[in-house]
């Protein structure tokens, strides 16, 4: 078996295992052991994704493409983006299923969660427009079903479902137009441009970019944290933007630049909203919206620094927000909803959760020694080098997000302790997940060299593809259509 075969086998295993887990927990007697199946499936998917990424890094760094090709995108692609996004997304799912409260993982919810994982991992490994549309639908449906099944989640299911339906329609029509008139070909017409803009709108909707963002806080307000994190932390919209919008003949596409500007505004606006949230869910939702938009803000950058920063934010913001979300889930599963205006003094009855919330918060706002410090440094430098106002917006967002997080921490954990309240010790599986996520953020923050070098290679590939006027999946040895 050569390296390419090993990569493809690992990739297919990463997608197939959660899919099989979803089928097994939905239709067989394994429904009774749903939690165990979920953990094993997510763990195997994570190891398979890591194996695929490891094999790819051992090679020459070229893209591997298989299957039918449309508009320059192959059905199965493994390139730098996949090598980064696949293990990351699999890790997010693994963290969710291991740390989730017991009652959140039953025979009903686990199939949806695993189906969502399989669809998302498949989405990260394709550049084919038709498949992207199908996988968008496949990854959205489990979220809608989960929201509908959550008590009080119907309004959020409606908001999310409507926004995503509009996003899928835009993506489908946009892809049709792109296939007909690929906008990266010299002399492309208005059809290709229209396709690009529709895809941009779809990405804005899916990513929750201002002014199409309102479903995002609603999802966190009413859905289970696991559902919300799984739906938003994989950055599928960012991956789609890279697959479909990067590679225009005239350099960076106008729609990508617009997308980046709107994402920058979202970053600052989301952080500003986070400062005045009235409950923990609102805080986590608006912060997640703000930080994940930062990924998109850097993707249109013309400098490797900014692109590298965006990819570093992809991991750092994703992991730290996943950590915050999981800690918030743990607190709410024990103590109910947490308002931010009453200082309930939770540090006394849940000291370990207070510690982890603080540490993930610090990791989000760029504490030196964490990956977010590196990511912020890169994205701020890149943004300021390229556009002064962009850099200022990023700095403003960083300031506001920090204020929101520290306000949130003191509002949740500060205040007089009550001796008659039950204690909420952390569970061993929660401690393992939180410590592992923190360890990744700290190790990559203290020794960012290898990661940044790898990200630079990926960023270089993306920038090259712009200059070469060819889509990214075809720039390194992929077969011609």
């Amino acid at each position: 078996m050569n390296a390419t075969d090993a990569i493809l086998a690992s990739l297919l295993a990463a997608i197939a295992v959660p899919a099989a887990g979803a089928v097994a927990t939905r239709f067989t007697a394994l429904q009774r052991s749903a939690r165990a199946v979920a953990v094993v499936s997510a763990a195997l998917a994570f190891f398979a994704a890591c194996a695929a990424a490891w094999w790819w890094h051992q090679g020459d760094g070229g893209a591997i493409a298989r299957g039918p090709v449309a508009a320059g995108g192959a059905a199965l692609v493994f390139d730098g983006l996949t090598a980064l996004a696949l293990p990351y997304a699999a890790l997010v799912w693994l963290a969710i299923v291991v740390a989730a409260p017991k009652r959140a993982l039953d025979g009903e919810s686990v199939p949806r969660l695993l189906a969502g994982e399989a669809a998302t991992l498949a989405l990260l490994a394709t550049a084919h427009p038709g498949l992207l549309v199908l996988l968008w639908i496949a990854s959205i449906v489990p979220t809608v079903l989960s929201l509908r099944a959550t008590p009080g989640g119907l309004p959020a299911a409606r908001a999310y479902g409507r926004a995503m339906a509009a996003a899928v329609v835009c993506l489908a029509v946009g892809c049709l137009l792109i296939v007909r008139d690929p906008p990266w070909r010299p002399g492309h017409g208005l059809v290709g441009d229209a396709g690009g803009w529709l895809v941009a709108v779809a990405v804005m909707l899916r990513k929750g970019v201002f002014p199409l963002h309102s479903w995002y806080p609603a999802l966190y307000s009413s859905g289970a944290y696991g559902t919300a994190l799984a739906a938003t932390m994989a950055h599928t919209a960012g991956a789609t933007a890279i697959r479909l919008l990067v590679g225009h003949a005239d350099g960076v596409a106008a729609e990508l630049v617009f997308l980046a500007q709107a994402a920058l505004v979202t970053t600052a606006y989301g952080a500003a909203l986070a400062v005045v949230q009235r409950d923990l869910r609102g805080l986590v939702g608006t912060l997640a919206m703000s930080q994940s938009a930062l990924v998109l803000a850097g993707l249109a950058g013309r400098l490797p620094t900014e692109l590298c920063g965006a990819l570093a934010v992809w991991i750092s913001a994703g992991l730290s927000l996943t950590g915050i979300g999981l800690v918030a889930w743990a607190i709410e599963s024990r103590a109910g909803s947490v308002p931010l205006d009453s200082h309930p003094g939770r540090a006394d009855d849940a000291p370990a959760l207070a510690l982890f919330f603080l540490l993930f918060g610090l990791a989000t706002l760029g504490l030196p020694g964490t990956l977010s410090f590196v990511a912020d440094d890169l994205i701020v430098s890149g943004a300021l080098d390229e556009q002064f106002h962009a850099g200022l917006l990023v700095i403003l967002a960083t300031v506001l997000a920090g204020i929101a997080l520290v306000r949130g921490w003191f509002a949740i954990f500060g205040g007089p302790a009550r001796v008659d309240r039950p204690r909420h010790p952390i569970l061993p599986r929660e401690r393992v997940v939180f410590t592992a996520l923190l360890a990744i953020l700290v190790v990559l923050g203290l020794w960012p060299g290898p990661l940044v070098a790898s990200l630079e290679r990926i960023a270089g590939t993306l920038l090259e593809s712009r200059h070469d006027a060819a889509p990214p999946s075809l720039t390194h040895g992929a077969p011609a259509p």
């Binding site: 309004p155 409606r158 309102s214 609603a218 080098d385 410590t435 923190l438 060299g449």
Partner: protein, 449 residues
């Protein structure tokens, strides 16, 4: 091993000592393991002792070399394209004496707090934060590049915030910590932006590329416009950390923290971090006279404001906070005037005196009772001679101004904080309406949630 290599190792040890102590006392709580008080204080004390010994050794070696600066390049942390973040430390006539004094103070406070906080809830937390502060402070002082300095600066800010909110079961402490953090965070944006401008101008954050020559005789290599921009941003950053007008509101409230941390942060080290930053970049200030004069004006204004407000404080820690603010203002004015050695000596002497006063403050009531018993009555408060010269009405007006803290906070609240909060709440209300409409839940009902 050559002398240069030994010196490099000694410089690294000054950061590594408290950093290793931080890891040793910080990891057990993270892993759910118990930690004993004595072990914690010894670990942190050993970290500071190692750093202090290394600093003393470095000082001796530097003195033998005539205080020629020694740069320690630990490598490139990460780089992308032309953007390079290096880990550079510098041992010179400014940094090493400063580390000696700051680490010595940290060690003393560590010893004091071991007894003072005995059996206090959050004992371990205090020492974790003290070790984080020590690491950050030494990183800040020894930084050879603005990137490393920013890393240290952030550690100092975070540890300061968490120590102000140490007694987080008191709502006042949590509010005071948040207020300090907001000020820090807003002003830190200045340092972040200054770093980016330096990177853009010189291709690196190394001070060597912006300032030629060794401290205190450095000269600025930046263009006048860049120097002015960087200087203004650095001043903005320094004002927050040093509690200068209009960012001084957090400082008196910061005394909500435990006494040992108040002593080291707001009497000694944290409050002078801004002064250190400006001393390190003095050459850039010198190349931007407008910024330098602005600094003089702000420093002098703060000193007058704090002296006035401090005179009417009725609690000892508040009085000491305003006294610190006064001295910090004078020190910044001295830096703005282009003096280099005077402000350094002023920083060290003020820090030592003020931390002693704050550490002694819990016993002050006892001392006062003893004094009153010895005098046969309470010693009366005496106003200064200048105040006595003023007419009664002016004195009363001045008293009211002082009681209202110079109206500084009310102005900042009215002109900045309230409009921002009103706008944000309006945006949040609008968001809830949109969500209500999207979810078919009805805009009114959603807005009322």
């Amino acid at each position: 091993m050559t002398g240069t290599r030994i010196l490099s190792w000694l410089v690294v040890l000054q950061v590594l000592g408290p950093a290793v102590a931080l890891a040793l006392v910080g990891l057990p709580p993270l892993l759910g393991l118990p930690a004993r008080e004595r072990g914690v204080t010894r670990a942190v004390g050993a970290g500071f002792a190692i750093a202090l010994a290394a600093a003393a050794g470095s000082l001796a070696m530097l003195a033998a070399r005539g205080f020629a600066p020694h740069h320690v390049h630990l490598g490139t942390w990460f780089h992308v394209g032309h953007h390079e973040t290096t880990i550079d430390l510098v041992a010179d006539a400014l940094s090493i004496p400063y580390v000696c004094f700051s680490t010595g103070l940290c060690g003393l406070v560590n010893a004091f707090a071991g007894k003072y906080l005995h059996r206090e809830t959050g004992f371990v937390r205090f020492f974790v934060l003290l070790a984080l502060f020590g690491t950050g402070m030494n990183l800040l002082v020894l930084a050879g590049s603005i990137d490393v300095l920013f890393a240290g600066w952030e550690c100092v800010g975070i540890s300061s915030t968490l120590l102000i909110g140490f007694f987080h079961d008191r709502v006042a402490a949590a509010t005071a910590a948040l207020r300090a953090f907001v000020t820090y965070r807003v002003c830190d944006a200045g340092l972040l932006a200054a770093g980016v401008v330096l990177h853009a101008a010189t291709g690196s954050g190394d001070f060597e590329r912006a300032i030629a020559g060794s401290w205190p005789a450095g000269t600025c290599l930046l263009s006048p416009t860049t120097a002015l921009v960087v200087a203004l941003l650095l001043i903005f950053a320094a004002l927050g950390k040093s509690g200068q007008v209009p960012f001084s509101g957090w400082l008196p409230r910061a005394m909500e923290g435990p006494t040992p941390s108040s002593a080291i942060f707001y009497g000694a080290l944290s409050i002078h971090a801004g002064a250190y930053l400006l001393l390190r970049c003095e050459a850039i200030l010198e190349a931007a006279p407008v910024a330098a004069w602005l600094l003089v004006a702000i420093g002098a204004g703060t000193a007058i404001h704090a002296a006035l407000v401090g005179a009417v404080q009725t609690d000892l820690k508040g009085m000491l906070a305003y006294a610190s603010m006064t001295q910090a203002g004078i020190i910044l004015a001295e830096i703005g005037l282009g003096w280099r050695i005077v402000p350094l000596v002023h920083v060290v002497s003020h820090a030592i005196l003020r931390s002693l006063q704050i550490l002694r403050s819990p016993s002050a009531l006892h001392d006062r009772h003893e004094l009153a018993a010895a005098l046969g009555g309470h010693p009366g408060a005496d106003s200064g001679p200048l105040v006595r010269l003023l007419p009664e009405r002016a004195r009363t007006a001045l008293y009211h101004v002082a009681l209202e803290r110079g109206y500084e906070e009310s102005l900042v609240n009215r002109l900045v904080v309230e409009p921002v909060l009103v706008a944000l709440h309006a945006a949040a209300r609008g968001e809830r309406r949109v969500v209500g409409w999207l979810s078919g839940d009805g805009p009114r009902r959603e807005a009322d949630r």
